[in-house]
Amino acid sequence: MFEKALHGSRRYWMLLATLGIIITAGAIAYRFQLREGLALTGLSRSVSWGLYIAQFTFLVGVAASAVTVVLPYYIHDYKTFGKITILGEFLAVPSVIMCLVFILVDLGQPFRVFHVIMYPSLSSLMFWDTVVLGMYLVLNIVIGWTVISAEYKRTAPPAWVKPLIYLSIPWAISIHTVTAFLYAGLPGRDLWLTAITGARFLASAFSSGPALLVLLCGMSRRFTGFDPGERAERSLAVIITYAFSAHVFFIVLEFFTAFYSGIPAQRASLAHLYWGWGDPGSLTIFTWVSIALGFGALGVLYSPARRRDGWLLAAVTAIFISVWLEKGLGFVVGGFIPDPLEHVAVYRPTAVESFIAAGVWAAGILVLVILFKITSGVRAQAQR
């Protein structure tokens, strides 16, 4: 079955080569970081987590979003998603891989990473996150590979895979909840220390993940012989509309509590992120791009007539970028501003940091392209 990944058009090989170049650039940048230390990043004693951990957080959401297609298909027997559940599961695989690599490149002592296993600390949410993410990765590889192998052999999937699929549903929720708990349980970090952090994470995940899936369906139709079907995309668009509306609503809730209560510590991070309190040249620009894209996309998605074709692709692209800016940058960095002594430190990712992040993304996309190539190859064969 893997041979499907070894036969492709010129464009396919060009794509793989491009990704290979970006991965190499990232690896070279990482070599420098490994030698010189994390001083090469924009991180500081005030903002001690940045782009890497934010990417990790964002990608856990993308990984968890597989549940938005798996759950309707397997629990509610929603046949429209029949063709794309495997895409959801295969999207989760590179997402989790990227998560783990982003954690690794963020470590000051990466060669000691196994200390997490050798000296397990059950009171640490990071230990639990490693456990649930690792398990989720295994679940999705096994499920995805078994299902597509069965299709390849034109047989029904084996019975033992069903319980694993059902297990993967609560598991997907758990990975993002545990990731939210990483933040939501820290005393003194008021942007994070809120009971709706978990809910916010799920809402933003269930908008950004399916948004990516719609984009991938569009690409699959255009560039491969496999068409997941427009109805599936339109159904995903409805899920995105609701989830993103909830995401916006949750942000409004945060603002109400912070500003009506008037508690300074509650207000500070939001004020910094949204209108540059303490430092005008801050992340405000990203926040407002995120808001503009989000509302623009919602305008499109609220109109059923536009929930298709070019409009839909534009809207989901905007949603993906909007959530990426909010969660893959603002939420994590904003939590450190102001710092415990109420200093406002500027954080800007450096070139080295950006190359490493791009390299990890490219590696994830490479795995994704190969998995999707195999899937579309098997599917195209079946459609013939």
Binding site: Y119, L122, M126, L186, P187
Partner: protein, 258 residues
């Protein structure tokens, strides 16, 4: 590492039970939610410090305690604030104790630098979050770090509500002149977290703290908080003793005397 799998599982289970049990206990013992920070439950020693602010603020430019600590512990002198390593340092009074400060506070109290260090909390969030058990609280209350086990994830820095932890963003030895190295104390490598450890290496030999010894004003007092006759407790008597962000339930062991 010669642990068998059986031992590994047993340790993991034991610790799991301790955590679950501890959480359940904390949830059920509502009686002491606001008062109990673990200070009184200890029968043995609990090391703590008192900073006499009135004495400390006499000389604004004084950095004797900082110099002694950083020299004795090979703390690199990194000028770039972003990457600075600080075991004991100074910041503005209103940032250190924002709850005490108001617009009518005397100017001296407002502008003088106030000493900061690790609070050696009774209930330290940094210890709770460490995924490698590289930092822990000793029986006597001192929070220490194993430099060889730290993986450099910096979760403890996110968890510390006092900004007391520093990270070696690059090789700290580059910032240590050869003649400045104290051979009796180890230097560190890049990619690990460090902080004040209440001179644990000296305390265990019955010696006093470097910062305490360096202070000519005798503004810093160190001793057993559980012993009512200790120097630190005597200094607190009749004074207003403040702790940083004590509302977070961390139970700091550093008291600021006004």
């Amino acid at each position: 590492m010669n642990r068998t799998r059986r031992e590994f599982i047993r340790t993991a289970l034991e610790r799991g039970l301790v955590v679950i049990g501890g959480t359940a206990f904390a949830a059920l013992s509502c009686k002491d939610i606001f008062t109990d920070d673990g200070l009184k439950t200890h029968t043995g020693k609990r090391w703590g410090m008192a900073v006499d602010l009135l004495k400390c603020m006499k000389k604004e430019s004084c950095v004797d305690c900082i110099a002694a600590c950083h020299l004795g512990h090979n703390v690199p002198d990194i000028k770039e604030v972003k990457h600075a390593i600080t075991w004991i340092w100074k910041d503005e009074f209103e940032r250190v104790l924002p709850n005490v400060h108001d617009e009518y506070s005397p100017p001296a109290a407002r502008h003088a630098g106030t000493i900061l260090l690790c609070n050696h909390c009774a209930n330290p969030p940094c210890v709770r979050v460490c995924p490698a058990r590289a930092t822990w609280k000793r029986e006597d209350g001192i929070v220490v770090i194993d430099q060889h086990r730290c993986i450099g994830c910096r979760y403890c820095m996110a968890a510390c509500p006092y900004g007391s932890r520093s990270f070696n963003w690059s090789d700290p030895r580059k910032f240590l002149a050869k003649e400045r190295i104290t051979p009796a104390y180890p230097t560190r490598t890049k990619g690990t977290v460090e902080k004040c450890e209440f001179c644990v290496e000296r305390v265990d030999r019955g010696q006093g703290l470097l910062c305490v010894g360096a202070c000519k004003e005798k503004a810093l007092l160190f001793g057993d908080l559980n012993d009512p006759k200790s120097e630190v407790r005597a200094a607190m008597t009749g004074r207003t003793a403040l702790r940083r962000k004590s509302e977070l339930g961390t139970g700091p062991a550093v008291y600021y005397l006004l």
